[in-house]
Chain length 333, copies 2
């Protein structure tokens, strides 16, 4: 196992110690380092809480900051945070306007967020929930509720975060998050496995010349495993699935997230993006915003995902809003 580690059991807590050392803009609630929150809550603003397993940096905690999220329950590697932790984060970020729970579609997370929500209501904290399910590969059209949440939740964070920062009420922030969710799709492909520190070996095997289309960010099986194709052909295949679900008219605008899963060099993401740009040109669709880099990773997994948000006049300025977290900065100029 080629990792820089001390005791594998301390992986998450030592990572968090490093993060708190580096970034005084964030802190933790209830004396529990896994209850990760902004150090600067905004009075009267709707709070937004996410949460999920570790091993995906900068997802999830990396999007806590100005104009995005207010808190994050931090689980073990690929494990849900506890309902108690999510409750404590919810209590901390509540500033009198209620709290939106915004997280990915995984059984453990849903169970623990639901429980935290019920307990928060007992404390007279109003909550609402939106569950991201952008991964096209995890089930067919008509069964979107079975789809996993992956990198595309970034757009939900950004849109809902900007709406909350504009002091919109909870119902409105929820509506914005729902709308961004309806209009976001992601497809991913993996070339190699990752290693969970406490397990110490690759989570699955894949041939030296193979790729797996649609693999999840914890190594969940994808749609097909096949011989690695040229970069342009890979993008074409992925975008076929996204185009089939997003009905573009000429002149429409999109936001794109080209996300590296951890082990794929940035150079390759730009080669892949070149092809994506050509395909959008062919359709007469304008890429109004694009971010390339590592946003939702599986530690050292090689691979990438493409997330596309089909913009409209309401979502565009929310996506364009300036953002400043320790892990993600967006100037509008």
């Amino acid at each position: 196992m080629k990792k820089f580690l001390n005791n594998p059991e301390d992986f998450v807590d030592e990572m968090l110690e490093g993060i708190y050392r580096a970034h005084p803009e964030v802190t933790y609630a209830n004396d529990d380092k896994r209850c990760y929150v902004t150090a600067n809550p905004v009075p009267g603003k709707v709070g937004i809480v996410t949460g999920g397993g570790s091993g995906h940096l900068p997802t999830f905690l990396g999007f806590v900051g100005k104009n995005m999220l207010d808190g994050c329950g931090v689980g073990g590697v690929f494990q849900s945070p506890s309902s108690d932790q999510l409750l404590e984060v919810t209590k901390y970020v509540d500033q009198g306007a209620g709290v939106l729970h915004l997280y990915g579609n995984y059984t453990g997370d849903i169970m623990n967020f639901d429980m935290a929500s019920e307990l928060a209501e007992l404390d007279d904290i109003e909550t609402a929930a939106v569950v991201g399910n952008d991964d096209v590969a995890s089930s067919v059209v008509g069964e979107e509720h079975k789809r996993r949440g992956v990198a595309g939740i970034f757009f939900l964070y950004k849109a809902a975060g900007a709406a909350a920062a504009a002091m919109k009420p909870l119902a409105e922030v929820k509506r914005i998050a729902e709308k961004a969710k309806e209009r976001t799709r992601t497809m991913g492909v993996a070339l190699s496995a990752c290693i969970v520190p406490e397990i110490g070996k690759a989570s699955f095997q894949i041939g030296e010349d193979e790729m797996e289309i649609g693999m999840g960010i914890h190594g969940e099986p994808g749609i097909s495993r096949k011989k690695l194709a040229p970069a342009d052909a890979v993008v074409d295949e992925m975008m076929d699935r996204i185009f089939a679900e997003q009905n573009y008219a000429k002149g429409d605008e999109v936001a794109v997230l080209m996300n590296g899963l951890g082990g794929t060099p940035l150079e390759e993401l730009y080669i892949l993006y070149r092809r994506l740009g050509q395909l959008m040109d062919e359709k007469g669709v304008k890429i109004r915003h694009v971010w390339l880099g590592e946003f939702a990773t599986s530690m050292e997994m090689a691979g990438f995902s493409i997330s596309v948000l089909h913009l409209d006049d309401e979502l565009e300025p929310l996506i364009a809003a300036e953002t400043n977290t320790p892990f993600f900065k967006h100037f509008s100029n």
Copy 2:
């Protein structure tokens, strides 16, 4: 070779096409995509040009932007750009106040920058040069001129870039870059090799339980190859070398760059940074600024480097200045 590629020979040019598609803030001079320049040169400002081989994103071109660099000659993977390309970039960025060439200590780069400088003088463009050599592992004290330039050049870019943005004259921008250079040291360690696309196989072999201390960013041999140690022990060994060359008094301040070489997850960088923070605490040294992530990579190489800039009252505000490039954004709030 598990890479997302089309024809390996097109790796650099397709990457550049993707970059120009994504980032309208940059463009190219002389109708040559490898003559990478800002789209918004500032009249009367000293221009700063860097250059070097591809395969290190965001180094080198990623630091062209507001308050940093103005242009970059882009070479093939691990190859120097040509003197003609460097000349064209120099001509484009010259805004009447001269041009600083600021790049890493590699034979090919020195030769081509020197030639470009001579040709620029014939065009009445004043130039000056500062050559980064922050890599402690490449030679002993007293022979610093033999040391390679690696990730620490980031601090030279940031300090010189802020000085140029403040409309300082060329001699002053050069002096600032020299001062940042004198006060910057880097140590790196690698766990795995990278694959040059046109070669298609790993550039060297290293055992499954081995690390190489002091390896260069093109796989140049390091100081020692040994069994992979716990994260804290690796940081201790690296920092011993840096502490031996930087003489801190209690209360001194530093800026730190924890740089992933490409294949090492961000989680691990924070675990490593935790230890670095403890060591600085023990010495009573304050980490005034820290950046963690991928700044100077070797494509998919696993490993990391630590760069430390020993701040003083002149350098600190320059390092603190806001910066906005397509690849690196720094808000001061």
